[in-house]
């Protein structure tokens, strides 16, 4: 997704771009996650700023791609399970409002106007009209196509070619060299490996997530609905399994239930306990789901960096090398803002947002 967005924004900035992937389009984490474009789960700070910019850019792209990428400005509803939880959630929303987020408190009754099938007896929540969603694989494919760039799928980058003074002059692939003065590393969870080919360290690591998919249903869940603990899980630094439920309907009918978070490396083994926990959380929010069938489950590996912020921009250690990876559980949403920042950096223009917090060399001095 991030590579496709970078291709679109850089091509539209007038550059001649080639998009290379060792797999097909959306064959990485983009084809193994969900497509929420969220502000609701982000605390004030650089990631929220990037999310607000990205949400605005997605809105612009939606005018062009709308239905093809299943864009839906559906809004999010975060639900508290206890009065204490509600108070904490409202404090959080207060801070987000100060940072420019639209966050409307919803008292108990109004909650059921927004989502009629929620479990009875919930104290209330917060409504986030800016939350929206796309279908990630379609979004990546359509953005890549619309960029008009040459797309080389099934081609693996095996080395980064450099001039004697260390600047980038191209990439070596298993199907020949490609000469270019600039490379954007949008290799997601494998971004660290690509950086290593250029001789620099970027500590991108995988954080596994499962998603449960139900049989197709008529629209019974209208927003993206999740429990307030989700925000804590997203921001958490823990390696242990976390499974706060996130429930959302899709344009195609199935309901998606996400998303677990755990650090187990690249372990692809299916885990029944994880999907059971997801099902338990989802049926607690929406009791009607108990009779609905899970059709399948899939897993993906979110690319994360130690401070949970992506690496975006030029790498001062290797002239011509740019990074756009490490977006963890928000790479679909943040792809547009990332594409914008990369295009501005490549054309030496001032971006709409200060990119300093995303500096790729910010981990350089840390001990390995």
């Amino acid at each position: 997704m991030v590579g496709a967005a970078c291709a679109l924004y850089t091509a539209r900035a007038g550059l001649d771009v080639i998009l290379v992937d060792r797999g097909p389009v959306a064959g990485g984490t983009t084809g193994a996650g969900e497509g929420n474009i969220l502000v609701s789960d982000k605390e004030p700070g650089p990631e929220l700023d990037l999310a607000l910019l990205s949400g605005r850019l997605w809105g612009e792209l939606a005018r062009e791609f709308g239905a093809a990428v299943e864009y839906e400005a559906k809004g999010g509803v975060v639900v508290a399970s206890s009065p204490d939880g509600l108070a904490a959630l409202e404090r959080f929303a207060e801070e987000q409002r100060a940072a420019g987020v639209v966050a409307e408190p919803v008292a108990d009754d109004a909650l059921y106007d927004l989502e009629a099938h929620l479990a009875p007896g919930l104290p209330g929540g917060v409504h986030y009209p800016q939350d929206c969603q796309v279908m990630p694989a379609l979004a990546a494919a359509h953005l890549a196509r619309a960029s008009g760039t040459r797309l080389f799928t099934g081609r693996t980058v095996t080395d980064v070619l450099r001039t004697p003074d260390g600047a980038v002059r191209g990439v070596r692939t298993d199907k020949g060299d490609i000469h270019t003065p600039a490379i954007v590393n949008a290799a997601g969870t494998w971004g660290g490996e690509l950086a290593a080919l250029a001789g620099v360290r970027l500590p991108v690591l995988p954080r596994r997530g499962f998603v449960l998919v139900t049989e197709p249903l008529p629209r019974l869940v209208r927003h993206k609905v999740y429990a307030a603990d989700y925000v804590a899980d997203v921001a958490s630094d823990s390696a242990a399994l976390q499974t706060s439920p996130v429930v959302e309907g899709t344009a195609a009918g199935p309901i998606l239930i996400g998303a677990s978070r755990e650090r187990v490396g690249f372990d692809r083994t299916f885990s029944l306990p994880v999907v059971r926990a997801l099902a338990a959380g989802a049926t607690r929010l929406f009791p009607f789901l108990a009779d609905v069938h899970a059709m399948r489950a899939y897993l993906g590996f979110r690319p994360y960096l130690p401070d949970h912020l992506p690496a975006i921009g030029p790498d001062p250690r290797v002239p011509g090398l740019y990074h756009a990876c490490g977006h963890e559980g928000a790479g679909i949403g943040l792809a547009t803002g990332t594409g914008h920042l990369i295009a501005r950096a490549l054309t030496a223009k001032t971006p709409d947002l200060d990119p300093t917090p995303f500096r790729p060399d910010r981990f350089a001095e840390e001990a390995v």
């Binding site: 797999g23 097909p24 389009v25 959306a26 064959g27 084809g31 694989a137 379609l138 494919a141 359509h142 890549a144 196509r145 797309l151 799928t153 099934g154 449960l212 998919v213 139900t214 049989e215 197709p216 195609a252 199935p254 239930i257 083994t269 299916f270 029944l272 306990p273 999907v275 059971r276 926990a277 997801l278 099902a279 338990a280 989802a282 049926t283 607690r284 789901l289 108990a290 009779d291 609905v292 069938h293 899970a294 059709m295 399948r296 489950a297 899939y298």
Partner: protein, 463 residues
């Protein structure tokens, strides 16, 4: 407590259960069907008691021997038959396996069968390749027609065409004819030379091979070899098909099209193994089949596999593999090294039958250019109503390169059947190889079932 859970009550599962039970193993056989028998020994539904079921079955005596053996004579523990148990997952933990199965036709409640060892004998499913009109009522799979026959549901007096490729078409055609259906033609994509060249293998596999040819003649079933169905016709149901000759490279020969009126078309393009449960258990697959060693063991300790899930090869091969698996399991569960000499004759049969299965596979490939006939408006994925045109667009314009990305970009394979029907067609249209897709749930499972299991586990954990 059960020592061995056998999943699938076809020839492989039954032979294994019999061999293991005879050696003191406590066996539970789990199958989704209402009665034991699998694909081959499929039983007429009890309500429709067929007077002479053996007329439809070859090797009826083998079946009787299996059935009577399992009914208890000799074994120390009676084999437990759990029918209408739809296995959705097999879970492995530190002290054995839990087989999770949904009960009955409703499939709302799940039960757990604990066992020390598991045999995967889940058989295969049919490969059907699409063509214009294939979704019309009246078009059925060859296996579906066979099941209707064996279930006593075939209505005589109809006109049928049997088409596709593979040795399974022969018994379907003669079976329909014997049941009083007029079979207008058996349309086989393989050429007569291929059939002759592999004739010995064919006879080896189906001892009745020669008999089938005679029976086709007797029932005046016309064999159109190196032919294919290019279109099925009808408004709201099938009224006829257009068939055409193929050239030696598998392309339709222009000008050879002709129309055959019929109200039933049974199509099949061979079988594919069921590998979902094995995949989720982490067993190594070899292409599209579950990989096993000489004892039918998978690479996951405690998990054996036999029958069509390890490769398509017919009922006799399934019996041989099941027998070997049952003996190996009996020895290993006792903690002793099995002696292969004890199953030497089954092993010999297995070697011979696998060889002829490979020859048959080579003789009956789907026509090389079948996808040329598939028009853009032909539905490929029926569950999600995805057309061939949409699949082609995903590949040609959106950068899809494999079945998984086509699925993501078009939804082909995301529906109720989870791509079991359309997978081969999508791979063919996309020009890529069919790879086993991951299906963590072998059957759709209610979220409430998963949620209750979570709550039970956490209660146990905190008490």
């Amino acid at each position: 407590m059960t020592d061995l859970a056998v999943i699938g009550a076809g020839p492989a599962g039954l032979a294994a259960a019999l061999a293991a039970a005879a050696r003191g193993v406590r066996v539970a056989i789990v199958d989704s069907a209402t009665e034991a028998g699998g694909q081959f020994y499929r039983q007429p539904a009890s309500g429709l008691r067929s007077r002479r079921p053996q007329a439809l079955h070859h090797q009826w005596r083998t079946w009787e021997r299996l059935r009577d053996g399992l009914a208890g004579s000799g074994a120390r523990f009676a084999v437990q038959f759990l029918t209408e148990h739809h296995v959705w997952s097999v879970e492995r933990d530190s002290d054995g396996f839990t087989v999770h199965a949904l009960l009955g036709p409703e499939q709302r409640e799940s039960v757990a069968v604990r066992a020390d060892a598991v045999l995967l004998a889940t058989g295969g499913y049919e490969r059907v390749l699409p063509f214009p009109g294939w979704t019309l009522p009246g078009v059925v799979t060859a296996g579906g027609a066979q099941a209707m026959l064996k279930g006593g549901l075939v209505v005589p007096g109809r006109t049928a065409v049997v088409a596709g490729t593979g040795p399974l078409l022969l018994p379907v055609a003669t079976g329909l004819a014997a049941a009083g259906v007029e079979v207008a033609a058996l349309v086989e994509a393989a050429g007569p030379k291929d059939l002759v060249r592999h004739g010995r293998a064919l006879v080896g596999k189906l001892p009745e091979g020669a008999g089938y040819a005679a029976r086709l003649l007797r029932h005046r079933v016309r064999l159109l070899s190196r032919h294919t169905v290019v279109r099925a016709h009808g408004d709201d149901r099938l009224t006829g098909v257009t068939v055409a000759a193929l050239d030696t490279r598998g392309r339709v020969r222009p000008g050879t099209e002709r129309y055959l009126p019929c109200d039933t078309l049974a199509v099949g393009h061979g079988m594919l193994p069921h590998t979902d449960l094995a995949e989720t258990l982490g067993c190594r697959l070899d292409g599209l089949t579950v990989a096993v060693d000489d004892e039918q063991r998978t690479d996951v300790p405690g998990v054996w596999a036999a029958g069509e899930s390890t490769g398509i090869g017919g009922a006799a091969l399934a019996l041989a593999e099941g027998h070997i698996a049952g003996r190996s399991i009996a020895a290993r569960l006792r903690g002793s090294e099995p002696d292969p000499a004890q199953w030497a004759s089954a092993a010999k049969a297995r070697t011979r039958l696998r060889k002829s299965a490979a020859a048959l596979d080579a003789a009956y490939p789907p026509p090389a250019h079948w996808s040329d006939q598939v028009t853009d408006d032909t539905l490929v994925c029926r569950c999600e109503e995805v057309t061939a045109g949409a699949v082609r667009e995903a590949v040609d314009e959106l950068g899809a390169g494999d079945v998984r990305t086509v699925k993501l970009l078009t939804r082909a394979g995301m529906g109720w059947c989870q791509g079991r029907v359309c997978g081969p067609a999508v791979a063919g249209l996309a020009g890529c190889e069919l790879t086993p897709s991951r299906r963590p749930f072998a059957r759709p499972v209610p979220l409430g079932v998963l949620a209750r299991q979570h709550d039970m586990a956490t209660e146990k954990g905190t008490s």
